[in-house]
């Protein structure tokens, strides 16, 4: 397993630095790529073409886009979050149950990576905050929060709970997502998302964003339950249903007639 990751990384770095020589990889890589090719031909080629060149519909639009330069990171993200294979073609790929095993995903990534250029699967130290001392981490989180608010909240909401995009599209919820997948999403710009390449947001700042998202995940509900973290809309609904509903229920109780007795007072006392 460790060996595989190591190999894969080597392959990825190779691909990133010398894409033209990607085909002269080691024998182990070659094996992995071959395995990936077989999986690809069965599961992906229908939409993306046998060599990942993409498939055009008769109308001229993309059925499945070309994968020649998306890199291993894109495959790891798309397949690792269950977005690929898609249930049906479309611009929005919803997150689903993951279909392939980790080893299969690695093989697929290696194959796609061998098709051209593109970012490799990020090394764990790029996004992991393990081993950082507390002050350092706090500083990173603060910085990450500011970068998050400047670049991410517009689509993904300040709590990372997602938002609407034009023509039925949406930016998905990004809370509770693996750090690696967040990193890959920034790097590759899945579906309609913009890319935040290392030239755009440097790796250290990507790590900061991930550290901030993790603190959001760990953060307690200081003020109690939140309703879907959707802001004023869910708050307004709560105000009407509970804030007004409960007092009205009490008002009905207050004004309701109490039970009556058929007895007369004198009879009872007699």
């Amino acid at each position: 397993m460790v060996l595989l990751v190591g190999l894969l990384l080597t392959g990825g770095l190779y691909a990133a630095f010398s894409p033209a020589q990607a085909d002269s990889a080691t024998a182990a890589d070659e094996e992995l790529i071959q395995e990936g090719r077989e999986l690809f031909l069965v599961g992906c080629a229908f939409c993306h073409g046998q060599n990942g060149e993409g498939v055009l519909t008769q109308g001229g639009s993309q059925y499945g886009p070309a994968l020649t330069d998306v890199g291993a990171a894109a495959v790891d993200f798309q397949v690792g979050t269950g977005r690929m294979p898609m249930a049906q073609p479309g611009s929005q790929a919803p997150r689903k149950e993951v279909v392939y095993s980790d080893a299969e995903i690695e093989a697929l990534a290696a194959f796609v990576d061998s098709l051209g250029t593109g970012p490799a699967i990020p090394d764990e130290e790029l996004y992991s905050t393990e081993g950082m001392d507390e002050d350092e981490l706090e500083e990173l989180v603060v910085r990450g929060g500011q970068i998050f608010l400047a670049n991410c909240t517009a689509c993904h909401n300040f709590e990372g709970s997602g938002g609407a995009m034009p023509r039925g599209g949406y930016a998905p919820k990004i809370r509770g997502v693996d750090s690696k997948h967040i990193y890959e999403a920034m790097l590759t710009g899945p579906q309609s998302m913009d890319t935040f390449s290392d030239g755009n947001i440097p790796p250290e700042d990507k790590k900061a964003v991930i550290a901030y998202l993790n603190t959001l995940d760990e953060q307690p509900g200081y003020g109690g339950f939140s309703f879907g973290s959707l802001g004023p809309v869910s708050e307004g609904i709560t105000a009407w249903l509970i804030g007004l509903g409960v007092p009205v229920a009490f008002a009905i109780w207050i004004a309701a007639h109490t039970t009556r007795s058929s007895k007369k007072k004198d009879e009872a006392q007699a």
Binding site: N157, G162, A164, P166, G168, F225, W240
Partner: protein
Amino acid sequence: MTVSDMSKVAATNGTEPATPAKSSKAAGVVANWADERLGLGSAMKKNLRKVFPDHWSFMLGEVALWSFVVLLLSGVFLTLWFDPSMAEVQYNGSYSPLRGVHMSAAFASTLDISFDVRGGLLMRQMHHWAAMIFIASMMIHLLRVYLTGAFRKPREVNWLIGCLLLLLGTIEGFTGYSLPDDLLSGTGVRAADGFMKATPVVGTYMSFFLFGGEFPGDSIIPRFYVMHILLIPGLLLALIAAHMLLLVYHKHTQWPGPGRTQENVVGYPMLPVYMAKAGGFFFIVFGVTALMGGLFSINNVWKLGPYDPSKVTAGSQPDWYMGWPDGLLRIIPAWETHLWGHTVSWNVMLPILIAPPMFLVILMLLPFIESWVTGDKREHHLLQRPRNAPTRTAVMVALMTFYGLAWAAGGNDIIAIKLHLSINQITYFMRAAVFIGPVIAFFIARRWCISLQRHDEEKLLHGYESGVLVRSPQGGYAEKHLPLPEAKAYTLTARDRDPEVEEVDESLTGGKGRRARLRNRLQKLYFADNVQKPTADELHDAQHHAEHELHELEGQIAAGPNRHGPADH
């Protein structure tokens, strides 16, 4: 006026007639001192046993009143720590993900209230929830007053005061939620700046004056603060006092029923029953806001961060009561006129500067329009059921439909993600729906009311459906109808007949004539198809007929082979 029989209340209160207890000497001295200076005796004599009728819907306004008291209490608490300043500080408080960030003192003190003051976050959340309940209950109270006809003479002035309270409450809410200077409320203030700038000719000047310079300036938070804690609450208090005084002067309306007439008011005395119920209700409303403040988080400003004009979040919505103009702002087409070096932004003016004020004016005019159309200038103290004024009810349903659709449009992005729809399509749909929806709702509501009226008449004339099925010897089934109890039947008939539509004086010409003819047409439409209550003769005939039928049926059953007739039940 009947003197209540106090001899027969619960034994703990004494079985003897309740005579005033011998008050202690000290209390007597104090009471005497106060009365000789303030004349309390006469004022209290009139009001301590003032009668209030009992009905759950009469307590909706009370929810508003009590949530306002909660707002005052929790608001005072918040002012002890809140610093309404836009001076830049570097945050160094307890919330670590923002430590070191530059922000306004207003936002920093909001964080301090939330994290460093025990119960501070609870009070912030209670204040926010109470504000939402305050406006929601005012609106629902308004609907109750309108739909039951309680706004009619002599209460039109109180209707106007109520509308102003709603307006002021909304502005109070907006200035209030803008104070923390967080990313979401700052975006709202940014939009408000856009609204102001859209005003023709003077807009830019208004914006610069309000913000004390170019947006965002350093004055808007302190200025909103003064409006929020002094100016508007003062006006609200004064208007609430006037609203209550008029309520006491007019005495509360009541539902018609046996013994409840236009000339009297039947209910429980202020002391002790109403005081206990209203006072108890205050604790209930207070308690509900405290529970909500403790259990449901609202406006987590620490996650939003301080306002920064370059940042924004998906799901940028105002609080719900500002939602409907925001909805109109979302669905208005891109109308802007560029002429001779000037810009007129219809896309902002129509939904924000024109539609909401117009809506308020329509609301305020409703009592006067109705009385002009119907010609009804009498005093009314008995309430009407919504079905007995079909056109009025339908007008409000149409307005509510408009409001509701515009409101939904204000959440179009949330609707889009939650229902997997396209915001573009929702927007196109809403553009048409805000015009067509109210019209459809008007006709449905009106016909619905009339069919309910018919149902009432049916019950009066033919009795209610007893649920008892009888089979005739021929094999036919029929449901046995029984006459309504007298009190119920009386209550159904205790309403006015609609007036006959007056003929237009044909000799009138010009503007006067046109007005008279318009009024005549509206009057005809207003009353059209309404069901009038039956006359005594009609009722008598119908009852006679029903009895006869029942008698016949029972006779047949008695004579037939199946003797298990209705008489056995």
